[in-house]
């Protein structure tokens, strides 16, 4: 889902950069001492996830892990994903420097959305609600990223529907796998470290 350099028009790039800067500044403001290692670890996880590709379906899609980043980090997933994307752009020319902003927004904004949608639900101790919410979180984050990428490409490629259908179809296996990964991560964390779930900020430190 990394958009390459030179595909998007200047207004889209500028909008992306501005939104990313806003998101990152919100994230940095909320980042305190204890959160830094957590942000770094999830940044590394995101960095590595792009190398795990899912060999099912029509296209070579890779894991994104923005759902799990979002639910564990909230707004902090903006700086986390920005760092990982910047390194991917510099080291491997995935994406690029000019598209860094828009790529960050495409990945991090769904993460933040999922944080607000699911962080309360994921905390539930009993019943099927927590696993279901975790799965939905992983699934929806990738889905929303696909929609955002399609929206960005709307201005360069002809029809939104065909691009969106292509991207979402290609990423359907990824969505399901990410849902499962998020489900297991949440279940694991709920057992060993429940404080990590639901509300990275606001619990005081």
């Amino acid at each position: 889902m990394h958009i390459s350099e030179g595909v998007l028009s200047a207004p889209v790039l500028v909008t992306g950069a501005v939104l990313a800067a806003a998101g990152v500044s919100v994230g940095l403001r909320k980042m305190d001492y204890e959160k830094i290692p957590q942000v770094a670890v999830l940044s590394s996880a995101f960095f590595v996830a792009s190398f795990i590709h899912v060999p099912i379906g029509p296209a070579n899609a890779h894991l994104i892990l923005n759902g799990i980043s979002g639910i564990l980090l909230g707004w902090l997933c903006f700086p986390s994903i920005l760092v990982a994307l910047a390194l991917q752009a510099i080291l491997f020319q995935f994406g690029g420097i000019t598209v860094l902003g828009i790529n960050t927004v495409n990945m991090a904004l769904p993460g933040v959305t999922c944080y607000y949608l699911f962080s309360r639900l994921v905390k539930r101790e009993r019943g099927l609600l927590s696993p279901a919410a975790a799965f939905a979180c992983g699934f929806l984050a990738v889905f929303l990223s696909g929609i955002l990428v399609a929206l960005c490409l709307l201005f360069t490629e002809e029809s939104f529907m065909s691009v969106a259908r292509l991207i979402l179809l290609a990423h359907l296996p990824v969505m399901i796998i990410e849902g499962i990964i998020t489900l297991f991560c949440v279940a694991f964390l709920a057992r060993v470290k429940p404080e990590l779930l639901g509300g990275i900020y606001g619990k005081g430190s």
Binding site: H2, V41, S44, F51, I52, V83, F92, L166, V192
Partner: protein, 204 residues
């Protein structure tokens, strides 16, 4: 320690992910497309691939001249290849659009086209030149050398394409993770310094 615990857990997750990556032998990834083009005679051959080696099938190829005017366009075949006759003597810019925001570029300078064309023209004129009784004419020798060089160099050209389209190595990935933790160290350092200064002021 509570905090130490959470970091440990995350590290374990990260480690598992890295093992997964390394054991999966870094397969083809759809992050980046590469188009590679070379000139033979009056034809330009191109090959398009995703980083990691998967061929870009049915992707759009556009050819632009020096001024940015589009000369022609076409689609890659099921082996990621596309070739065209050079429409005009100019610097060519070949742009590949593989959909979903993937784009690659390759430039062919005018000099390269001239060189390749020169060779083929000499070849043509060489056909008319009469061989001397003593054996091969100068042109024929030149032709033979050009031909065999073309043949010999083709695998090397191919190798260059392949090495260009190879995905990142494990070293680079581990290096990237190292960068992230280095940045974490820097962030912690600055946060900690601010904290200590604050505390010192408070104690004064």
């Amino acid at each position: 320690m509570e905090k130490g615990h959470s970091i440990q857990i995350s590290l374990v997750i990260l480690l598992l992910a890295s093992i997964l990556v390394i054991s999966s032998n870094l397969p083809a990834l759809a992050h980046k497309v590469i188009i590679f083009a070379w000139v033979e005679g009056d034809t330009v051959f191109t090959e398009s691939k995703f980083a990691g080696g998967k061929r870009a099938v049915g992707a759009q190829v556009q050819v632009f001249d020096k001024e940015g005017k589009q000369l022609l366009e076409g689609k890659t075949d099921n082996r990621g290849k596309f070739s065209f006759k050079i429409p005009k003597l100019t610097d060519l810019r070949i742009v590949l659009t593989a959909g979903m925001g993937h784009k690659g570029e390759w430039a062919i300078p005018e000099s390269e086209i001239l060189e390749a064309r020169g060779v083929s023209e000499e070849k043509r004129s060489g056909e008319h030149s009469q061989p001397t009784a003593a054996g091969l004419s100068k042109e024929e020798i030149k032709d033979l050398i050009e031909d065999s060089l073309d043949r010999k160099l083709r695998p090397i050209v191919r190798m260059l394409t392949e090495s260009q389209s190879k995905g990142p190595s494990v070293n680079e990935i581990v290096g990237g993770i190292g960068y992230i933790f280095g940045l974490m160290g820097v962030a912690l350092y600055f946060k900690n310094r601010g904290k200590r200064r604050h505390r010192d002021n408070y104690n004064d």
